[in-house]
C-alpha cells in the first residue's frame, strides 16, 4: 500500500515537472517590425538638370519643400527634380539621381535613406571652386547638423547648421574652408532626418573645369575598394588621377594600395608601406599606364581612413571631373536606372554573379557576370532596373555613366537597408520606477 502511494506521488511529481519543462515558454519573444526607410534624392541648383530613375510609377513621394507632407504616387519612372529634394518611399529598390549642367559637367549619386553620419571625400574651396554642400531635412521638425571640415592643414573649425523642417540648406564650400584645395567633409546630424549631398564644380575664370556629385561614405575603414575609376588614355598616358586620403584618428596610417584592372593587380610605385599622416587631407597622384577604360583600387591600412579618387577627363569639347568614392561590398539589390545605361565595374578576386535587367518593354534580360579582378559590363539599352543576385564571393562595384555633358560615377550600393525596429508594447510599468 505504502509502495503504491510512493509510486503515485513520484509519478505525479515527475508528470508535473516534465510537463512543466516541456510546455514552458520564456515569455513572449520581442516582436520586430521591418521596413525600408524612405530615401532622399538630392536637390539641385536652378541651372542644373536633375533626374531620378524610379522603379514604378506608383511609388509615393513628396517634395521636401513647403508645408505639404502628403505622399503621392510619383506617376513617372524618370522624375525631374525642379523645386527641391524629394522623398521616395520606394521600399527595397534603390534609385539613382543623374545631374548635369548641359555641356559642362555631369554626375550621379545614390538616393539614400537618412544618415546620421556622412563623409565626403572630394571638393575644393579655392578660387576654382563653385562647389556646394546640400543638407536636406526630410523630417517635419527642425534639425541641427554639425559640419566638420578637414583640409591639407588639418581639421578646420566646423559649422553648426539649423535646417528647418521639410527643407534643404545649401552651403558653398568656400565658406566652409576658404582657400583650401583639398577637402574632406563630415556631416553629422544631432537631430532630425538628415541627408547631405556634395557637388564639386570647378571653373577657372570663365573656363569651366567640370564637376561631379560626390558620393558619401558612412564611416572610415581599414580595407576597402574604390571601384570603377574611369581611365582615359591620351597619347598613351592615362590620368592623372589623384587619390585623396584622410586618417581622422590620432595615429598616422600605414597603407598599401593595389591597382586592379584587366592588366592584373599591382602596387603602384611608392604605395606599399606608405605612411599617411593623420588629421590632414593628403592628395597622392596616381600615374597609371593601364590600357583599359576603368580600374579599381584596393586600399589596406592599419588605421581607419576615408578615401576618394579624383579623375579629370577630357570630353569632346570640355573638361569634366569624376570623384569615385569607396565602394561597399556588393549585396543583392535592385536599382532603378530608367533612362540611363551605366557601365558596371565589379572588382574582386573572383567575380561571379547574376545581373537581371528589366527593360522598359517589360522584358527581362539576365547576364551571368564572371571573371577575375576587374570585370566590366555594360547595361543594355532601354533598361528600367537592374537586379543583382547570386553573388558568390566578395565583390565591390560601381557604375559609370557617360553623357555628352560628362561622366558620373556611383558606388553600387543599396539606398535603403531593411530597418528592424522593435514593436513597442503597451506597459504601464514604464511609468513606475
Amino acid at each position: 500500500m505504502k509502495f503504491r502511494r510512493a509510486l503515485i506521488i513520484a509519478g505525479a511529481v515527475m508528470v508535473a515537472l516534465v510537463a512543466g519543462n516541456l510546455l514552458t515558454t520564456k515569455g513572449e519573444p520581442a516582436k520586430f517590425s521591418q521596413s525600408y526607410p524612405a530615401v532622399v534624392c538630392p536637390p539641385t541648383d536652378p541651372n542644373v538638370t536633375s533626374q531620378v530613375s524610379i522603379a514604378t510609377k506608383k511609388i509615393p513621394f513628396r517634395i521636401i519643400f513647403g508645408k505639404s507632407t502628403a505622399m503621392l504616387p510619383i506617376g513617372t519612372t524618370r522624375y525631374a527634380i525642379t523645386k527641391g529634394a524629394i522623398l521616395l518611399d520606394q521600399g527595397a529598390t534603390s534609385s539613382l539621381a543623374w545631374q548635369n549642367l548641359s555641356g559642362v559637367w555631369a554626375g550621379s549619386t545614390l538616393c539614400r535613406a537618412p544618415q546620421g553620419d556622412q563623409w565626403f571625400v572630394g571638393g575644393a574651396a579655392d578660387v576654382t571652386s563653385r562647389g556646394r554642400l546640400y543638407v536636406v531635412n526630410s523630417g517635419l521638425s527642425d534639425a541641427i547638423v554639425d559640419v566638420a571640415v578637414w583640409t591639407a592643414d588639418g581639421p578646420q573649425s566646423g559649422k553648426v547648421l539649423t535646417v528647418r523642417a521639410n527643407s534643404s540648406s545649401r552651403v558653398s564650400l568656400d565658406i566652409l574652408a576658404a582657400g583650401a584645395s583639398r577637402l574632406v567633409i563630415r556631416v553629422t546630424a544631432r537631430s532630425g532626418r538628415i541627408n547631405s549631398f556634395l557637388v564639386d564644380e570647378r571653373a577657372k575664370g570663365l573656363k569651366t573645369l567640370g564637376g561631379d556629385a560626390v558620393n558619401s561614405v558612412d564611416f572610415p575603414r581599414t580595407d576597402f575598394v574604390i571601384a570603377g575609376i574611369p581611365h582615359q588614355v591620351t597619347k598613351g598616358v592615362g590620368g592623372p588621377h589623384v587619390l585623396r586620403l584622410l586618417v581622422p584618428g590620432n595615429v598616422d596610417a600605414n597603407i598599401r594600395v593595389d591597382s586592379i584592372s584587366k592588366d592584373g593587380v599591382f602596387v603602384p610605385v611608392g604605395f606599399d608601406g606608405r605612411v599617411v599622416p593623420h588629421g590632414q587631407v593628403i592628395d597622392l597622384p596616381l600615374a597609371s599606364t593601364i590600357a583599359f577604360s576603368a580600374f579599381s583600387l584596393r586600399i589596406r591600412s592599419d588605421q581607419p581612413l576615408v578615401a576618394g579618387v579624383y579623375s579629370p577627363l577630357r570630353m569632346s569639347d570640355h573638361q569634366d571631373i569624376v570623384w569615385n568614392a569607396m565602394s561597399p561590398l556588393l549585396e543583392p539589390m535592385e536599382m532603378a536606372i530608367t533612362g540611363l545605361t551605366p557601365t558596371l565595374v565589379f572588382t574582386g578576386d573572383v567575380v561571379d554573379l547574376i545581373v537581371s535587367t528589366r527593360l522598359t518593354t517589360g522584358k527581362t534580360v539576365t547576364a551571368h557576370i564572371f571573371g577575375n579582378d576587374n570585370v566590366i559590363w555594360k547595361v543594355p539599352d532601354k533598361a528600367q532596373s537592374i537586379t543583382i543576385s547570386r553573388i558568390k564571393s566578395p565583390v565591390a562595384a560601381s557604375g559609370l555613366i557617360t553623357s555628352t555633358s560628362g561622366i558620373g560615377a556611383f558606388p553600387l550600393a543599396v539606398g535603403s537597408t531593411l530597418a528592424k525596429a522593435p514593436v513597442p508594447v503597451s506597459d504601464i510599468a514604464v511609468i513606475s520606477h
Binding site: K2, R5, A6, I9, A12, V13, A16, L17, A19, G20, N21, L23, T24, T25, K26, G27, E28, A30, S33, S35, P37, A38, T69, M71, P114, G116, N137, S138, G139, L140, S141, A143, A165, N166, A189, S191, G192, R193, I194, A419, A421, P422, V423, P424, V425, S426, D427, I428, A429, V430, I431, S432, H433
Partner: protein, 1014 residues
C-alpha cells in the same frame, strides 16, 4: 437637635405590586425590619395573577387592588387617596417596588438626610443589585440629551463606597423614593402619560423647577431586581406596541425631554434623539436584535407624530414652574461624559469578546499561600531567562533580520509589482468610489476591493498610505510568524518546534519573494492563510460548523479574495473536493437533509467572498486573466522548476540553490500516516498545481507583454501545509526514534531537520545581503519630469527603452500628471489599436501621421525616458508633428502639434478650440453649433447636458465620444456614476449583512440571567 427617632415625620410606605411574588417575601420582610418603623404600609396590587396578593394577606399588609393595566403613578395616586392626612407631622410617602428590598437602616438614613434640609422634597437610597449585592445600580439618576437614562456609573460597577455621600441629583428612582406628600400633591403626582419608566426623572425635574431639591442619600441602601426593565414581567400598562419595555422606555424618555426642556432646545433635542435612536438601532441590528432596533425608531416617531400630547403636558408644567427649566442643566451629563462612558462600554465589550475572562480553578490542594510566595526564589535574572524562551528569541531574531533586510525600504515604497503610493488615503477612497478612472485613456473598470481595505487601513495611519505600506512591508515577516504560530500552537505544544517552524515560514522563499517584489496578494495570503488553514481542517463536517463561524470565515476569505483571486480559487478547490466527498457520502447513506445542510454551507462559503468583492469580482469573471494576476504591475514568476522548490521566482526571489525543505517535507509526509499525511496531500496538490500553472504566460493589468504566471499564493498554501505536516511529524518524534532501532526514519528526520537548518541560515544571510537590494525600494525618483505634471489631466505618451538579456524592447504608456499609483495597473484600460500603430510607426520611422493620431487622443506630450536610443530620437525629430521642448537628464520631451486637449469644440467650419477641463466633469460653454469631442475612452455614462437635455452622443473617427451641440450656451460634461454607486451600495449591504451574521448575537434582556443583570 435632630430627633433620632424622627418622630416629627410620618412615613407611609406605598408598595406597588404587580406579579412580584418572586421578590415580595423579602421586600415585605425588609419593610418590617426597618430600624425606624414605617408608620403605615399600604400595598397597591395591580391585580397580580401570581401569589402576590396571597403573600400580602399573609403578611397582614393593608392592600388595595387596582385594575391590571394601572400604571405605577396611578397606583401610587390611588393609594394616596385612601390615606388620611396628618397635619401635625411632616408627611412622607416612601415608594417601594415589589422587587426592591431596602436595608433595615434605609428609612432612618433617608430621614437623617432630609432632617436638616427643608428644601429637600425627594430623597432616594443607593440602589444595588438584587443578586450581586455589591453591584451598584444607581445613586441618583438623570437623563442625557439623547434620552438615555444616566446614572454616571460604569457597567457593573462595584460598590466600594466611591459614590457615597449625600448629594443633590436630578432625580432618584421610584424604587425607594421618599417624597413629601404635600410636594407630591402640589406637583400633581406622577404624569399619567408616564405609566412606567422615566416617571421618576420627570417628577424630579418638576420638583427642581418648582423650587425643591432632590437628593440621593447613599447611607440608605436598597436592593433592586429591576424586573420590568429586565423584562422579567409582562407589561400590562399599555396596549399594542407600548407593551414592549424598550419602546415604552424610549418613548417616555423623549416625552420627559420634550415636555420639560426649554422651547428653544426642542429642535436640537429632537434631532439628537432621532440620531441617537438611529445609531442605537444600527447597533441592535448588528447584534441581530431587529425588534429592539425598531423599538428605538418607533418610540421617537410615535411621540413626534402626536405633538398635541406634548403641548398639553408643557402647558401643565408651565403652571407649576417657579424657576427656569435651565436649573436642571447642571444635572444633565456633559457630552464628553457620555462619550467616555460609551467608549468604555465598547472597549469592555470588545475585550470580553477577544479576551474572555477565564475561570480560575483553584482547588483545595493548590490554594494560594502567601507564605509560599515568600519561600519561592525571586527571579533576579528575569531578563536573561526571557531570552531563553523560544518566542522571545524568534521575535528578536526576526526583528533583527527584518531591520537589515528592509535597509532600502524605509520610506515611500515603489518597485516590483508595487506601484507608487498616493499622497493620502483620500486618494484611495476617491479612486474606489469614482466611476471613471483617469488612467491612460480612462476606464470605468471597477476598482478592486483591496483598494478599499488599503484605504481603510491608511485612514488608521492618519491618511498616509505610503506610511501604511512601508509599515506593512516591514512588519509582514512578523505577521507571517505570528499567524503561523497561532496555527501551529493547535498542533503541538513544543514551543521550540512551533517557533522554529513559524520562523521558517516568515523567511520562506515565497515570503521573501513576495516582500521583495511587492506582491500584496501573496503577502495577504501569507498572513491570512494560516487562519484559513485552521478552519479548513473542520471543513469535512461542515454541517457541524455554526452559521456564525461560516460567515466569519467567509468574511476572512473575502478579505483575502479582495487581494488575490488565485488564493480564493485555491480554497474553492478544497470546497469542491469536499463537495465531491459529500455527494459520495450521500450515495452511501442517502441522507438528503445532511447533504442539503452541507451544500447550503459550502455554497455560502463560495458565494459570500465573491459577493463581498462585487462588482470587481463580477468583472473578473468576464476577464478571466484577472483571476490569476495579483494586484499591481505584471512582473514575471520564475517558472515550473522554481515553483516545485516552493520558490515563486521572478525579481527579488532567492536563487534556486537556497533550497527550501518544503517539497521534501511534503513528499516524506505524504508517505507517512495520520494527520501529517492529510496536510501533505493538500500541500502537494497545491505545489503541483503551482508547478503546472507556472508554465503559463499571461498578459493583463495594463501590460500587453506576456509574462510567466506568478503562483505565489498557491505556494504559500503549500508552505503552510508543509510546515503543518512537518510539525505534526516532528512532534514527539525524538521519543519515538529513541525507542526503535536505527532505520530510514532516522535518516529522513535528519535530512528534514538538516535541510531546514541549512535553509534557515542561508535564507537569513541572503535576505540581509543580496536580498536587501530588492526591487521594492523607498524613494525611487519619479519617472515623469515635474513640469509635465503642472497641468491637471494632461496626457503624456511615455516611451521607454527596456534592455533585455537578448534584445532591447520599447514600451509605452499614457501617463496623466504622475507616475503609476496604487490601483492604476488594475483599472487602466488596454491601449487602442490606433495608438499602438501610431507608436509603432514612430519607432520604425514611418509614422508621418502619428502626431495627428496622438493629438486626436488628447496626448499633449511625447516623453522619451533616458537612456534613449539616438536613432529613435532622430526618427521622432524627423517625423514631424513633434516639437522638441526639452532634453534633460530625465529624458527628452516633444510637444505634439495641433490641438491635443481633453475637450475640443469644432464648429461647423471645422475650426477647433480647446475647452478647459480640470476634472472628470466640467462646466464649459460652446460658442455655437458644432461637435464636442472628448478624448477619453467611449463609455455610455459620458453625458453632456445643456439646458436640462442630453446632447446626442456618438463615436468619432478614433472611437472616442463626441456630442452634437445644436446651439451656443453653457453645458455640463459628466460621467454618470449611478451604476457605480448602485454597485457600491449593494456591496455595502452585503458586507453589513455578512458582518451582522458574523458578530455574536445580542440577547434580549429577558434572556439574560438576572444574576448577570443585577
Amino acid at each position: 437637635m435632630a430627633d433620632s427617632n424622627h418622630s416629627s415625620h410620618h412615613v407611609t410606605a406605598i408598595l406597588v405590586v404587580h406579579d412580584g411574588a418572586m421578590w415580595l417575601p423579602e421586600v415585605v420582610a425588609s419593610l418590617a425590619s426597618q430600624t425606624r418603623p414605617i408608620d403605615f404600609t399600604l400595598a397597591v396590587d395591580t391585580h397580580s395573577v401570581d401569589t402576590s396578593s396571597k403573600l400580602l394577606r399573609n403578611a397582614r399588609v393593608a392592600s388595595l387592588t387596582m385594575p391590571r393595566d394601572t400604571g405605577f403613578g396611578a397606583a401610587v395616586s390611588a393609594g394616596l387617596e385612601t390615606l388620611p392626612k396628618n397635619s401635625d407631622k411632616t408627611e412622607w410617602i416612601w415608594l417601594i417596588h415589589d422587587d426592591c428590598a431596602p436595608q433595615p437602616s434605609a428609612l432612618v438614613a433617608l430621614l437623617n438626610a432630609v432632617e436638616d434640609r427643608p428644601q429637600v422634597a425627594i430623597a432616594g437610597p443607593k440602589l444595588r443589585g438584587w443578586y450581586d449585592r455589591s453591584h451598584l445600580l444607581e445613586a441618583g439618576v438623570s437623563i442625557a440629551n439623547n434620552g438615555a437614562r444616566w446614572t454616571g456609573l460604569e457597567p457593573h460597577e462595584y460598590d466600594q463606597g466611591q459614590h457615597d455621600g449625600i448629594r443633590e441629583v436630578l432625580s432618584v428612582s421610584t424604587a425607594g423614593m421618599l417624597i413629601r406628600r404635600d410636594v407630591f400633591e402640589e406637583l400633581g403626582g406622577f404624569d399619567p402619560n408616564l405609566t412606567l419608566f422615566r416617571d421618576d426623572v420627570d417628577l424630579g425635574w418638576r420638583a427642581h423647577v418648582a423650587g425643591y431639591s432632590v437628593i440621593a442619600a447613599t447611607d440608605a441602601v436598597a436592593f433592586h431586581a429591576e424586573a420590568a426593565a429586565s423584562e422579567r414581567r409582562k407589561l400590562d400598562v399599555k396596549s399594542g406596541a407600548l407593551r414592549r419595555p424598550l419602546i415604552l422606555d424610549r418613548r417616555n424618555a423623549a416625552y420627559v425631554l420634550l415636555t420639560n426642556s426649554s422651547w428653544w432646545l426642542l429642535p436640537w433635542l429632537s434631532i439628537q434623539m432621532l440620531f441617537s435612536a438611529m445609531v442605537r438601532a444600527g447597533g441592535y441590528l448588528l447584534a441581530k436584535l431587529p425588534g429592539y432596533a425598531s423599538d428605538e425608531v418607533l418610540a421617537v416617531a410615535l411621540l413626534l407624530v402626536r405633538p398635541g400630547l406634548i403641548l398639553e403636558a408643557r402647558k401643565f408644567r408651565k403652571k407649576k414652574r417657579m424657576i427656569s427649566a435651565r436649573v436642571v442643566s447642571r444635572f444633565i451629563p456633559p457630552r464628553w461624559s457620555q462619550l467616555r462612558l460609551g467608549l468604555l462600554r465598547a472597549s469592555e465589550s470588545i475585550r470580553q469578546t477577544l479576551l474572555p475572562a477565564r475561570p480560575e480553578f483553584v482547588g483545595i490542594l493548590n490554594a494560594p499561600s502567601e507564605d509560599e510566595d515568600l519561600l519561592a526564589p525571586s527571579p533576579s535574572n528575569y531578563w536573561r531567562s526571557a531570552f531563553r524562551r523560544p518566542g522571545v528569541l524568534g521575535v528578536v531574531a526576526l526583528v533583527a533580520i527584518t531591520s537589515l533586510w528592509s535597509a532600502h525600504r524605509y520610506g515611500s515604497l515603489v518597485g516590483g509589482a508595487l506601484p507608487g503610493s498616493p499622497i493620502g488615503a483620500s486618494d484611495l477612497w476617491s479612486r474606489y468610489g469614482e466611476s471613471w478612472h483617469q488612467v491612460g485613456m480612462g476606464s470605468s473598470t471597477a476598482t478592486p476591493t483591496w483598494i478599499l481595505i488599503i484605504a481603510i487601513l491608511s485612514t488608521l495611519f492618519f491618511g498616509k498610505a505610503f506610511a501604511l505600506l512601508a509599515f506593512l512591508f516591514w512588519i509582514a515577516p512578523l505577521l507571517f510568524m505570528w499567524s503561523m504560530y497561532s496555527l501551529l500552537r493547535k498542533l503541538s505544544r513544543n514551543a521550540w518546534l512551533i517557533m522554529g517552524a513559524s520562523f521558517s515560514y516568515a523567511i520562506s522563499p515565497v515570503a521573501i519573494a513576495a516582500i521583495n517584489s511587492g506582491r500584496l496578494g501573496t503577502i495577504a495570503a501569507l498572513i491570512i492563510g494560516p487562519r484559513i488553514a485552521f478552519f479548513l481542517t473542520r471543513m469535512r463536517k461542515v454541517e457541524e460548523i455554526h452559521w456564525r463561524a461560516i460567515f466569519g470565515f467567509s468574511l476572512l476569505l473575502g478579505a483575502l479574495t479582495a487581494f488575490s483571486f488565485q488564493a480564493f480559487m485555491g480554497i474553492a478547490l478544497i470546497y469542491i473536493l469536499g463537495l465531491a466527498l459529500d455527494v459520495r457520502d450521500f450515495r452511501k447513506g442517502s441522507n438528503r437533509s445532511l447533504l442539503l445542510r452541507r451544500l447550503s454551507k459550502r455554497a455560502t462559503l463560495i458565494v459570500t467572498p465573491f459577493a463581498l468583492c462585487l462588482p470587481w469580482s463580477f468583472e473578473a469573471l468576464v476577464h478571466p486573466s484577472r483571476l490569476l494576476i495579483e494586484p499591481g504591475l505584471l512582473i514575471p514568476g520564475g517558472g515550473p522548476n522554481l515553483a516545485f522548490l516552493a520558490n515563486p521566482g521572478g525579481p527579488g526571489s532567492m536563487p534556486w540553490w537556497i533550497l527550501s525543505p518544503v517539497a521534501f517535507v511534503l513528499i516524506i509526509s505524504a508517505l507517512s500516516s495520520g494527520m501529517a499525511r492529510k496536510y501533505a496531500e493538500i500541500g502537494l496538490t497545491f505545489l503541483l498545481i503551482a508547478t503546472l500553472l507556472s508554465v503559463l504566460t499571461i498578459s493583463g493589468h495594463s501590460s500587453a507583454r506576456s509574462e510567466i504566471l506568478w503562483t505565489g499564493t498557491l505556494l504559500a498554501y503549500a508552505t503552510i501545509a508543509s510546515l503543518c505536516a512537518g510539525v505534526v511529524i516532528l512532534h514527539g518524534l525524538r521519543q519515538k526514534l529513541t525507542n526503535v532501532r536505527f532505520h530510514y526514519r532516522h535518516v529522513l528526520a535528519g535530512l528534514a531537520i538538516g535541510t531546514t537548518i541549512f535553509y534557515g541560515f542561508s535564507a537569513s544571510i541572503w535576505v540581509i545581503t543580496s536580498g536587501a537590494a530588492s526591487p521594492v525600494r523607498a524613494n525611487h525618483p519619479s519617472v515623469l519630469p515635474p513640469f509635465l505634471a503642472v497641468t491637471p489631466g494632461v496626457k503624456t505618451l511615455v516611451l521607454r527603452n527596456i534592455s533585455g538579456s537578448k534584445t532591447d524592447t520599447i514600451s509605452f504608456f499614457i501617463a496623466r500628471e504622475s507616475d503609476a499609483m496604487l490601483a492604476d495597473p488594475d483599472v487602466a484600460p488596454a491601449d487602442s489599436k490606433d495608438i499602438e500603430v501610431a507608436v509603432r510607426e514612430i519607432v520604425d520611422g514611418s509614422g508621418i501621421s502619428s502626431s495627428k493620431v496622438l493629438a486626436g487622443y488628447g496626448i499633449k506630450y511625447l516623453f522619451m525616458k533616458k537612456p534613449v536610443d539616438i536613432q529613435l530620437t532622430r526618427e521622432v525629430d524627423g517625423l514631424g508633428g513633434f516639437l522638441r521642448t526639452s532634453s534633460t537628464q530625465a529624458g527628452i520631451v516633444w510637444k505634439v502639434a495641433g490641438i491635443s486637449d481633453r475637450l475640443v469644440f469644432t464648429d461647423s467650419k471645422g475650426k477647433s478650440v480647446a475647452l478647459p477641463t480640470q476634472d472628470v466633469s466640467a462646466r464649459v460653454s460652446a460658442p455655437g453649433p458644432g461637435i464636442l469631442s472628448l478624448s477619453e475612452n467611449y463609455d455610455n455614462s459620458w453625458k453632456v447636458i445643456q439646458n436640462g437635455k442630453q446632447l446626442p452622443r456618438s463615436r468619432n473617427s478614433y472611437g472616442l465620444p463626441q456630442f452634437e451641440v445644436s446651439q451656443a450656451g453653457d453645458f455640463s460634461l459628466i460621467h454618470d456614476g449611478t451604476s457605480r454607486r448602485a454597485w457600491l451600495s449593494l456591496q455595502m449591504i452585503i458586507f453589513l449583512l455578512v458582518l451582522v451574521m458574523t458578530v455574536p448575537s445580542g440577547r434580549r434582556r429577558g434572556e439574560i440571567a438576572l444574576e448577570e443583570l443585577t
